[in-house]
């Protein structure tokens, strides 16, 4: 920050400070010092006044003393020699009868941060630990931590560490908490305070004396403690239970964090129960008056929903956006709303989201439209109706996002392609940005056979290709024209010829030109060859993706709970989460149900996304098996088998795709295998099971089939 006239001001201040009249008058002296601090905080370099300020330090006026200390602490490292002069005053103040003066002197002595002064500081600090007044002890305890960070390699006297440990039993709760903080810093290399049973229980008993900040600190330190027995664990949990409902959000969050770290390994059921219990205070925090607190709570609600999908389903109205809320909160709320949708509330949620689509802020409108697209994966008809309606507005930014959303939707739910194709007619005039046009071209290319005007829209694009700036649009145009050519050659041949000619002869962008050349050569190889390259396999349009995603174990995100992590990932929604999941797995082996010796267990993690499933299914050897019976999703879920997709009921052939991971309990360690399966019911009696496996493990396959048939039998006896 440049500040003009700085030097003049410093000169003038020096004159004033050394003026004996000013020094004699306490009020004038104080106001001069005040002016020095003011200029300092405005960014002027006032280091030159150091010696004058050292003199001003010797005063009985406490306010002036405090001000001078602010100055000295800022500039001490520039003048280590002169700072020695201050030490005498400070040491004298440490003997002052007034505890406030003592604590002030002690604090600033350690705040000077000069290694050369360490020898003078140690003695008053030791004395400070035994001071009568709690406020002096608080400062002294933290003083040792400051001293340690000043000389990280010098060993702190073991006697001091012992004294700090014994001061955990100090009467004053703040001294206790400060001891914890200081020990954490001093013993950082050894992993912080050693929390043994005695200390842990002492801390737990003193918890209610501390204020909110102290409680958070203590609960954080206790995360490292591992109870010796299950009984002790449950004692601790029931002691902490009231704090889960604390009116103060930080305490509630710290308690929940402690619950998760204590339980998530051995007792997943308890941690889920804790999450359910913390639901109410978290919801209350989502409605807090402070937008930042609201945001923090929303981000953590998203974490919770990863393990308990649909947890706050009935409270979905709490996540409706207020019209004056900042955009970043609105976007988070919409992300949460998407997760909460179920059969009962989908109408209300969509109604609400529809209102945001025409929001004046393009970001909010865009987020709302994408949210509708996400809901469309499970409730495609209602969502497509809204999206089609929005196209009628003929506004650039809305149309662009709608077309992109439709593209993504068609990719996941092929059954919507019919209505999307109808909606596409005529929206090419409104699209201006390259993202939207790319999406439109992709849709035209893939569904060119169903959009009657596709060749003519492409023709219009090809005519303007010279003025087109974005290379992405050009490459997309090439691919789309090629595809339409494959299904409607007569109408497209001329257009394609012109486009290829332009791209190969005139285009400056190498990327586009190379692609055009590739297609040109590909066409030389024959139409069948071209078709097999350009038209990959498609998903079976009769399948619908299931609602919601599988519940992740709490342990996958417990570490990031109550840290800055969930707040920072800006748009990491459902897309990235399941993909990142598998690699946390090594940290915490999943407990297998009924894991006896050598028994097989199934597990749902790592979760598979629909795309991954399709990808794995299409490439892998089959091992067919016949199996009688008829099954239901819930029964399968209970036996840790996840259903991926299924045909609507009462249609033939009826199909279910499912997957699971096998895991061996017992002494012989064997790697987990991934099993994918297809159940096919073609009418008549009997159900065909096709299973694929990676890596191959025949025994695991046998075990999986046993579990599967067991699940199918239970469900058929239960439902039929």
């Amino acid at each position: 920050m440049p500040y003009l006239g700085g030097e003049e001001t410093v000169k003038e201040l020096r004159r004033a400070l050394s003026n004996p009249h000013v020094q004699g008058d306490p009020l004038r002296h104080r106001s001069t010092v005040l002016r020095v601090i003011r200029v300092m905080s405005q960014g002027v370099d006032v280091a030159g006044l150091f010696s004058e300020m050292v003199k001003a330090c010797a005063t009985t006026d406490v306010v002036q003393k405090k001000l001078v200390y602010v100055f000295l602490c800022s500039y001490a490292s520039l003048n280590p020699e002169l700072s020695l002069l201050v030490i005498n005053t400070l040491r004298k103040d440490c003997q002052d009868p007034n505890p406030m003066v003592r604590s002030l002197a002690l604090r600033n002595m350690t705040n000077l941060r000069l290694p050369s002064l360490v020898e003078y500081v140690q003695q008053p600090l030791t004395a400070g630990l035994r001071d009568r007044a709690a406020c002096v002890r608080r400062v002294a305890v933290l003083g040792w931590a400051k001293l340690h960070s000043l000389q990280p390699h010098a060993d702190i006297d073991a006697a001091v560490v012992n004294e700090l440990y014994s001061m955990l039993r100090d009467n004053d709760p703040v001294v206790m908490v400060n001891c914890l903080r200081a020990l954490e810093e001093i013993l950082k290399e050894e992993g912080g305070v050693a929390v043994n049973k005695a200390i842990a229980h002492h801390l737990l008993n003193r918890l209610k004396e501390c204020d909110v900040w102290g409680q958070c600190e203590v609960l954080g330190v206790l995360q490292r403690y591992r109870p010796h027995s299950e009984e002790e664990l449950f004692d601790i949990l029931s002691l902490l239970d009231p704090y889960l409902l604390s009116p103060s959000v930080p305490v509630m969050a710290a308690t929940l964090g402690l619950f998760l770290s204590l339980c998530c390994r051995g007792l997943p059921a308890v941690s889920l129960a804790a999450l359910r219990r913390a639901q109410a205070p978290l919801l209350a925090a989502c409605g807090s008056a402070s937008p930042e607190m609201k945001f923090t709570a929303l981000c953590h609600v998203q974490l919770l929903l990863r393990s308990l999908p649909g947890l706050m389903g009935e409270h979905y109205k709490r996540f409706f956006c207020g019209y004056a809320e900042p955009a970043y909160i609105k976007q988070r709320k919409m992300q949460v709303l998407v997760e909460l949708v179920n059969d009962d509330n989908v109408g209300f949620v969509l109604d609400e989201l529809k209102g945001y689509c025409t929001d004046v802020s393009p970001d909010t409108a865009q987020a709302a439209i994408s949210a509708i697209g996400r809901i469309g994966r499970s409730y495609s008809d209602q969502c497509l109706e809204i999206l089609t309606g929005l196209l009628g507005l003929k506004q650039e930014h809305i149309t662009s996002v709608v077309v992109q959303t439709m593209r993504d939707l068609v990719w996941v739910c092929p059954q919507c392609s019919e209505s999307v194709c109808e909606a596409l007619e005529g929206c090419e005039d409104t699209l201006q940005d390259s993202q939207g046009r790319q999406a439109l071209l992709w849709l035209l290319g893939v569904h060119g056979d169903r959009v009657s005007s596709a060749p003519y829209v492409l023709e219009a694009f090809v005519e303007q290709v010279r003025s087109e700036m974005a290379a992405g649009v050009k490459t997309e145009l090439l691919t789309a024209t090629m595809r339409v050519f494959l299904c409607r050659p007569a109408e497209t041949q001329d257009t394609l010829g012109r486009l290829l000619h332009y791209c190969i002869e005139e285009e400056a962008d190498m990327n586009v030109r190379d692609q055009a050349l590739l297609y040109y050569r590909l066409l030389h190889c024959g139409i069948e060859e071209t078709r097999s390259v350009l038209q990959g396999r498609r998903s079976d349009p009769s399948l619908g993706v299931l609602i919601g995603r599988p519940a992740e174990p709490v342990s996958q995100w417990a570490r990031s709970f109550n840290t800055l992590e969930p707040l920072r990932q800006c748009n990491a929604g459902a897309e990235s989460a399941p993909q990142a999941a598998p690699y946390h797995l090594a940290l915490d082996p999943e407990p297998t149900p009924g894991s006896g010796g050598g028994q097989l267990g199934l597990s749902l993690s790592p979760a598979l996304s629909p795309q991954q499933f399709e990808h794995l299914w299409l490439g892998g050897p089959q091992c067919p098996h016949g199996e009688p019976g008829k099954g239901l999703q819930a029964a399968l879920q209970r036996s840790h088998i996840q259903t991926m997709a299924f045909t609507p009921p009462h249609t033939l052939p009826w199909r279910v795709y499912l997957y699971t991971h096998t895991r061996w309990g017992g002494p012989a360690p064997r790697g987990p295998t991934l099993v994918l399966g297809e159940l096919l019911y073609t009418g008549g009696r009997g159900l065909r099971v096709t299973a694929k496996q990676r890596p191959r493990d025949d025994e695991a396959m046998k075990g999986f089939l046993q579990v599967l048939s067991g699940a199918l039998h239970t469900s058929s006896t239960g439902s039929c």
């Binding site: 905080s41 800022s74 900040w213 025409t358 691919t479």
Partner: protein, 541 residues
């Protein structure tokens, strides 16, 4: 996508495979690279055909990408597993949007060790500059709450038009930090009287002093005014703007006309600590019942959503700690099952109290006992959702149509359903209108109302300074919208209302009495105030 620049476009399906491959690669080390070729060869037939191409143009890109991903993955991991679990506030900054930094204070040693070559003040200043650049670089309404720059993490809130920022480590609790900043702003408001750029500028010495006592070495020590009052010595500097309202209580020749039954609204906006001055001697206590309602009313007039969040705030100027008893309505009940008394029940769904509140008389007589400490505290918070004891305060009857000349006609009839003796003030109705609306002609029912078309919010704002209960106001707006189509009508609405209802609570919560024990002779004054704000009041059309 930039890393894929010199390659032909592939079909989306193979693209998704390549994405996955690059993701798998992110987990392989350099030694595993031969596996890539193995993986590529095993894919579907059309990818195999492209394999030579992939090898030529792609592999390096993918590998680079993979390694990049790998490194970022590792970095993320070390963030989650920090060495020490303690959290620190390294720096507190108070900044304004376009005028630079008001005040900053380095609070711990550790942040400086990262950068030992530079001097203490400069490190702090660097962090401040980084934050400042981040804020000014953004164009939207507010930057995200958490921002990171290398190993620096900024957490900020916005209060009183200022940014309140701390820098911290990645593993610290955001709940604690945000709550701390909120508490800090309340403290500074208590000590300085109000929260604004001006008051911060005038009281920087006091704020330095407060920060020193509140945070030591990056650890929060205390935020309780009871403890702080022993340490804080600097007196607040306040500016008293001249205001005609101050004169309203003064009669002819300065004689006090009304034995003021009403305290001016600014009475509670003064520093809690001042030894001199006429106001300072008064020991007063202010109790505010503040409710915020968020309502969504459907196009058919049905109440879709109602949430009322309420607080009882106590602001105390009394130096000594007394016990205060706050009596609520006897019919006050919590939860659905527990109805009390015979009168109209005052019901809330959830209720929580400040730690210091004693509840031994609450079950029987609905009395809260507190020993208020100086400054402002929230004594009780409550929440009512999904129903209201009375009708929602405003109903809207809109008629919206296109006329033959391509103009948009909006006839809005707004009814206030408050009881006749209450009224709403500062009512502002916001009606979003189609994009490209040009001019507005209006017919309003009284001259004190105002309406205008604002381009930046794309909405018609209709302001009504005062709206008595039971009244009905109407307005006719004609908008010139070029190219108005039937689809554009979707852009009209939902209508947002913002208003303030003085002397009114939606839940019906009242304070029956305020008693201080021991009873002080005359000198203490007790004030109670009720107000309901609209947090978000939306009416769909």
């Amino acid at each position: 996508m930039t890393s894929y620049s010199y390659c032909p476009r592939l079909s989306p399906f193979s693209f998704s495979i390549i994405f996955k491959l690059s993701f798998f690669l992110s987990l392989l080390s350099r030694d595993d690279l031969p596996d890539l070729h193995f993986v590529l060869q095993g894919r579907s037939p059309h990818l195999q055909r492209l394999y030579p191409l992939l090898c030529l143009g792609f592999t390096c890109n993918i590998i680079l990408n993979g390694l990049l991903l790998l490194s970022s993955y590792n970095a993320k991991h070390t963030f989650i597993n920090p060495v020490g679990e303690h959290f620190l506030i390294s720096l507190v900054v108070i900044a304004i949007r376009n005028g630079g930094v008001l005040l900053f204070r380095g609070l711990c040693v550790n942040v400086l060790n990262h950068n030992q070559s530079s001097v203490r003040g400069e490190v702090g200043k660097d962090a401040v500059t980084v934050f400042y650049e981040k804020v000014t670089a953004l164009t939207g309404d507010q930057p995200p709450v958490v921002m990171s720059h290398k190993e620096l993490h900024f957490v900020h809130i916005r209060q009183g038009g200022l940014y309140w920022v701390v820098t911290t480590t990645a593993d610290s609790s955001p709940f604690t930090l945000v709550e701390f900043l909120n508490r800090l702003t309340t403290l500074i408001k208590d000590y300085c009287g109000s929260l604004s750029e001006k008051s911060v500028r005038m009281n920087f010495a006091l704020i330095y002093e407060l920060l020193d006592e509140v945070v030591d070495n990056g650890y929060i020590q205390t935020t309780s005014t009871d403890i702080l009052k022993n340490f804080i010595q600097t007196e607040a500097v306040t500016s008293k703007p001249f205001s005609l309202f101050d004169l309203s209580n003064v009669g002819l020749f300065g004689a006090e006309t009304q034995q003021s039954k009403v305290a001016p609204s600014a009475a509670a906006a003064r520093p809690i600590m001042s030894s001199r001055g006429d106001q300072g001697g008064k020991s007063e206590i202010f109790v505010d019942v503040v409710e915020r309602m968020s309502v969504v009313i459907g196009s058919n007039g049905v109440l879709m959503k109602v949430d009322v969040e309420g607080q009882i705030r106590v602001k105390c100027y009394m130096p000594s700690c007394l016990e205060m008893r706050i009596g609520l309505n006897e019919e006050f009940s919590i939860g659905k099952s527990q109805l009390r008394g015979y009168g109209a029940a005052v019901r809330v769904d959830e209720c929580s109290f400040h730690q210091a509140v004693k509840l031994d008389e609450f079950d029987q007589h609905r009395i809260l006992k507190v020993c208020p400490s100086q400054g402002e505290h929230v004594v009780m918070q409550y929440l009512l959702s999904d129903e209201l004891p009375s009708a929602p305060p405003f109903r809207l009857f809109p008629t919206i149509e296109r006329d033959n000349g391509g103009r948009l006609l909006m006839y809005l009839k707004l009814r206030c359903d408050l009881p006749p003796k209450s009224s709403a003030i500062n009512v502002s109705v916001t009606v979003p209108v189609p994009k490209g609306s040009l001019s507005l002609s209006q017919e309003l029912s009284s001259p004190d109302q105002k309406a205008e078309l604002r381009a930046e919010t794309r909405a018609v704002h209709w302001d009504i300074p005062r709206f008595p209960g039971g009244a009905q106001l109407s307005a006719l707006f004609k908008l010139e919208v070029p190219g108005l189509s039937s689809a554009s009508m979707m852009e009209v609405g939902p209508v947002g209302l913002s208003f303030e209802l003085p002397k009114y609570t939606c839940t019906g919560l009242q304070i029956r009495f305020l008693r201080l024990t021991p009873v002080q002779a005359g000198s203490s004054q007790r004030w109670v105030r009720y107000v309901t704000h609209s947090d978000s009041y939306t009416i769909r059309i």
